[in-house]
C-alpha cells in the first residue's frame, strides 16, 4: 500500500445517506461518529449509505444519486442495527485495496439525444432553441417579487436532498434564488417520533445556519455553544401566528419543547421566499408535522 493509500485509509469516510422510512433519527445519530463524515452532496462521498428500505417510488431517484458518486465508490445497506462505521470503513479500505467500484445503475445516455444535431452539432437551434448538450435552456417566466421577468428554472428536488426531510420531493420553480412556486411531488417518508425529537430538529436548523459543531452537540443532547444562533434568523420569518416564527420555534426546541403539531401546506409556505429563508422555514417544522401536512393535502386533492 502506498503512503497516499495508507493516509486515505485512516481518514474519516465521507458518507452520503439516503434515508428510508423510519430511519432518520438512527441515521443522524450514526453519522455523528468521528470515523464518518456527513457529506453534503454525493460528489463528496465515498460510500452511499442506504438506510432502511427505500420505497419503490424513490428507486429511480436513488439510482440518480448513486450514479453521481465519484469512483471508487461503494453502496451499503443498513437496517439501523448496530454502528455502521465499521462496515463503512472496511468498505472504503477495500476500495483502496482495489475492490471493484460500484457501476452505474442508469444507462449512459444524455437526457436528450443531441450529438450531431443543430447548426454546430451541439444540439441547439438558433439562439435559445434545441437541446444543446442534451438539455433545453430555461425560458423567461413571471416573477412574484420584483416583477423582472427573467428565466425561470424548474427542477424537482429530493427525495434525498440533505436540506429537505427524507422522502419529500418538491417541484420547484426558481427565479434566481427566490422560489416562485412549489408543488409536492412526493410527501416525506413517515418517520417515528424520535425523528421529531426537539434536539434533533434543533440540530437540523443549526446545521443550516452553518453551525456544524453546535449541531453535533445538540444532537447528542447537550446545549449548543455558538454565538448569535437565534439572532441570525430574521425576526418574523415563517410567522404562523403572532410571535410564532422560526426563531421562536428554534428557541422552543432548544428548550426541549416539541414544535407545533401542524405545519402549513408546503405549496403556500415557500413561494416568495429566498432559498435560504425557505429552507429555514421548512426545517422549522418537525418531520412528522410536515408528513401530516402533506398527507392532508393529498386527501383534500
Amino acid at each position: 500500500m502506498s503512503l497516499l493509500d495508507r493516509l486515505a485509509g485512516r481518514a474519516p469516510v465521507p458518507v452520503f445517506a439516503c434515508i428510508g422510512p423510519g430511519m432518520q433519527a438512527v441515521t443522524e445519530h450514526a453519522l455523528l461518529s468521528p470515523r464518518l463524515r456527513r457529506a453534503a452532496s454525493p460528489r463528496e462521498a465515498a460510500v452511499l449509505l442506504r438506510a432502511g428500505a427505500i420505497p419503490e417510488r424513490a428507486a429511480a431517484a436513488f439510482g440518480r444519486v448513486h450514479d453521481q458518486l465519484p469512483h471508487p465508490r461503494a453502496v451499503l445497506r443498513w437496517d439501523g442495527q448496530g454502528d455502521p462505521a465499521d462496515v463503512i470503513t472496511d468498505a472504503w479500505v477495500d476500495l483502496l485495496n482495489g475492490a471493484d467500484s460500484d457501476t452505474d445503475r442508469r444507462s449512459d445516455e444524455p437526457p436528450n439525444p443531441w450529438e450531431g444535431k443543430g447548426d454546430h452539432g451541439q444540439g441547439g437551434e438558433g439562439m435559445m432553441g434545441g437541446v444543446p448538450y442534451g438539455r433545453p435552456m430555461a425560458m423567461t417566466g413571471d416573477d412574484i417579487r420584483d416583477g423582472l421577468q427573467l428565466d425561470a428554472y424548474t427542477a424537482t428536488v429530493g427525495p434525498f436532498a440533505p436540506m429537505l426531510p427524507p422522502g419529500l420531493t418538491l417541484e420547484i420553480t426558481l427565479q434566481g434564488d427566490v422560489i416562485i412556486s412549489t408543488s409536492v411531488t412526493a410527501p416525506p417518508f413517515p418517520q417515528g417520533d424520535e425523528a421529531s425529537a426537539p434536539h434533533l430538529c434543533a440540530a437540523r436548523l443549526l446545521r443550516l445556519l452553518g453551525l456544524n459543531a453546535a449541531a453535533a452537540r445538540v444532537a447528542r443532547g447537550s446545549s449548543p455553544r455558538a454565538l448569535w444562533t437565534r439572532g441570525a434568523i430574521p425576526a418574523g420569518l415563517g410567522e404562523a401566528a403572532k410571535g410564532e416564527d422560526v426563531r421562536a420555534r428554534l428557541s422552543a426546541w432548544l428548550a426541549g419543547q416539541a414544535g407545533p403539531y401542524q405545519a402549513p401546506r408546503i405549496g403556500s409556505m415557500l413561494p416568495g421566499l429566498e432559498w435560504h429563508e425557505a429552507m429555514l422555514v421548512l426545517n422549522s417544522y418537525a418531520p412528522d408535522a410536515l408528513h401530516r401536512a402533506c398527507a392532508e393535502e393529498e386527501e383534500a386533492a
Binding site: T140, G147, L148, Q149
Partner: protein, 101 residues
C-alpha cells in the same frame, strides 16, 4: 520607442472597442465596446504620463477621471437596461427604437 509601442497598442484597443460599439446588437455588449475604448484611453494616458510628460500629477488624475466616467457609464447603463427590460423584456439596441409610446 516605448511610448510609440504603447500608443500603437492603445490605438488597437480603441479600434477594437469602436468595432464592438458599432457592431453589437445588444446594449450590454455595446457598453463593453465603450469600455474597451476607454481602456485604450487609459493606456495612452499611462504612456504619455510616464514617458512624455515627466509624471505630471494631472496625468494620474485624468486616468482616475476616465475610470470614474466608466463607473458612471456602467451604473447608468445597467440601470437603463433594467428599466427598458421591465418595460419590454428586451435588451437589444433595436428594441429601444420601438419604445416610443
Amino acid at each position: 520607442m516605448t511610448l510609440t509601442i504603447v500608443l500603437l497598442g492603445a490605438s488597437a484597443l480603441i479600434g477594437i472597442g469602436l468595432y464592438g460599439a458599432l457592431s453589437q446588437q445588444s446594449f450590454v455588449m455595446l457598453m463593453m465596446g465603450l469600455e474597451l475604448m476607454l481602456n485604450g484611453a487609459i493606456l495612452a494616458i499611462i504612456g504619455f504620463w510616464s514617458l512624455g510628460l515627466a509624471g505630471m500629477p494631472e496625468g494620474q488624475l485624468l486616468a482616475i477621471i476616465v475610470m470614474a466616467v466608466m463607473a458612471v457609464e456602467m451604473a447608468l447603463g445597467f440601470a437603463l437596461i433594467v428599466a427598458v427590460y421591465r418595460k419590454r423584456q428586451a435588451d437589444m439596441t433595436e428594441a429601444l427604437g420601438t419604445l416610443k409610446e
